[in-house]
Structure formats: structure tokens, C-alpha cells
Amino acid sequence: MSESTSTPAGIDPRGPRFGAVITSVLLLITVFLGLDAATADAAFVLLAVITASFAWGATQGTAKHPYGLIFKKFVRPRLAAPKELEDPRPPKFAQVIGFVVAGIGLVLGAFDNTVGLTIFAGMAFVAAFLNAAFNYCLGCQIYLGLKRIGIIKHG
């Protein structure tokens, strides 16, 4: 990453959390639909939408994501100014992790493995819910671990 030498402009830390609230609700619905063979197709479609949403956040960052824009237009004006701004790269990286996990679930679903789809949707829910409810960024947490075991090579 060429931008690693300088820190980009900060974002309101509540923006990514707002998105995580929506994402965790959608993922929980996906898990619910995935528990029944009769609604497995609906789970697949919903997970496809969520995966596309993660892809958007992973490439454009959470501030330019539709949830980020909704936050900026409708939610932020009602809140007090944030105590401090946050680096946009960690939440963007977390979106990459979300994309990978949801994407694996989607691929499994495409091969009619509804149990696999549901399990990966559940794993993505865990991360999104921890972020939404506890401000705990699981994706950021495992960044160093992934680097240490050599999965991420670039700086």
C-alpha cells in the first residue's frame, strides 16, 4: 500500500459502527433464513447483497459506502461532534475481512452447501456485532496476526 507512509484524513468513528449495525442485522437474518431449507435461496440472495456491500467498503472505504453516506447525511447532523477522528484504513481493512468471510459462505451456498453458508454468515455476524455493540474491531485485531503468519505480505 503506497499510502502507508502518510495517514489519510480522519473519519467519524461512529460512521463504520453505524454500518456495522445494519450489516449485523442483515447477517443475523441471513443465518435465520439459512437454518431452513425452504428459505435457503433467500439466505443466498441476502448474503450476495451483503458480500457486494463488503466489496464496496473494501475498495472505496466505509465513508464512501452507502451506509457511510446515509450516516453522514441523516445521522451525523443529529450527533455532537466526535471527540476525535479515526484513521479510515482499519475499518476499510475490516471490510476486506468481511468480504472474504461472507464470500466463502456465498461460494459454499452456490454449491448448495447451506450449512456452510449459514456458518460463514454466522462468523461474519460475530465480527459485525462485536463492532456494532462493543466497538471491537475484530478485523483490525487479526491484522497483525495475519501479517505474522505471512498471509498479508505488503506493508
Binding site: 443475523l28 484513521d87 482499519p90 462485536l130 455493540a133 483490525c140 491484522y143 497483525l144 506493508g155
Partner: protein, 147 residues
């Protein structure tokens, strides 16, 4: 699957993750005492402050914060220590980015950022704070150095 079972699974999942989150929140940012800790080599860790190499430890205590590029809590932790340093004599804060210093990450077994090592005036590690340091943790650490 009966609808009750599905709702039970959903409720169980939310409950389980909530418990994990509560445990994480209770544990993060607290300090763990280190007995017989090693002495930090300022040259090895490449410690700099305001662009200058750091050559001396704090007169009483040094907070050595390891950060990384993808870290949501590093900035606010650094700000907390920076304010402390401004208002408290004999306290030094050093921040080292270990994104590209994986040798340091494995040497000090750092799995999360921020991780802060608390050093005495000789640079010996006395405790370790995993996660964003809680203000009361910092106060306790200062108390143990009679500050």
C-alpha cells in the same frame, strides 16, 4: 426446523457473542505484571520521538506503545499517553509502529495493537497492557511508581 428452534439458535448466537464482547471489554486495556522482565534496547526497537532517536528512558516510567497501520484504537491511546506526559514529570511515552517490524512482534509476542509495555527507569519491562489502555490502568501503573 421448527420456528422455535430457529429463534432459539438466533437468540443463543446473539447471547454468546454478547458474552464474548463483555468479557473482552472487561479484560482489554488492563495491565499484567511481568516478573523478571527484560531490559528494552532503544536502538533495537528503533524508538524515535518527534523525528529524533530516543536515547533515554523516562526518569521514573516509560510507556512503550506498539502500534500498527490497521489499528482502530492506537491513535486515542497515543493521545492519552501524550496528555499524561505533558502533565506528569518523569513520564515518557514512546510509540513504535511494528507494521513492518514483525521481528519485534514475535520477540515481544504481540498479537494485538496497541500493546503497551510499562518500563521502569532502567528500561526494564514491569508490566504489559494489551489493547487500548484504560485511564484507571494508567493511574494504577503510575501509583506503582509512586507518581
Amino acid at each position: 426446523m421448527p420456528i422455535e428452534a430457529k429463534f432459539a439458535i438466533i437468540a443463543g448466537l446473539v447471547l454468546l457473542v454478547s458474552v464474548v464482547g463483555l468479557i473482552w471489554r472487561a479484560r482489554t486495556g488492563r495491565s499484567k505484571q511481568i516478573a523478571g522482565g527484560e531490559i528494552i534496547d532503544l536502538i533495537e526497537i528503533g524508538a524515535t520521538k518527534n523525528g529524533q532517536p530516543v536515547t533515554k528512558f523516562g526518569e521514573r516510567v516509560t510507556f512503550l506503545q506498539f502500534s500498527s497501520e490497521m489499528c482502530s484504537q492506537c491513535k486515542q491511546t497515543a493521545r492519552l499517553f501524550h496528555e499524561l506526559e505533558q502533565h506528569t514529570p518523569d513520564v515518557l511515552h514512546i510509540e513504535v509502529d511494528i507494521t513492518n517490524r514483525l521481528d519485534l512482534a514475535s520477540k515481544f509476542n504481540i498479537l494485538q495493537t496497541p500493546t503497551t509495555l510499562v518500563l521502569d527507569h532502567n528500561g526494564r519491562i514491569t508490566s504489559r497492557i494489551g489493547g487500548a489502555a484504560k485511564p484507571e490502568t494508567i493511574q494504577d501503573e503510575l501509583g506503582s511508581f509512586h507518581i
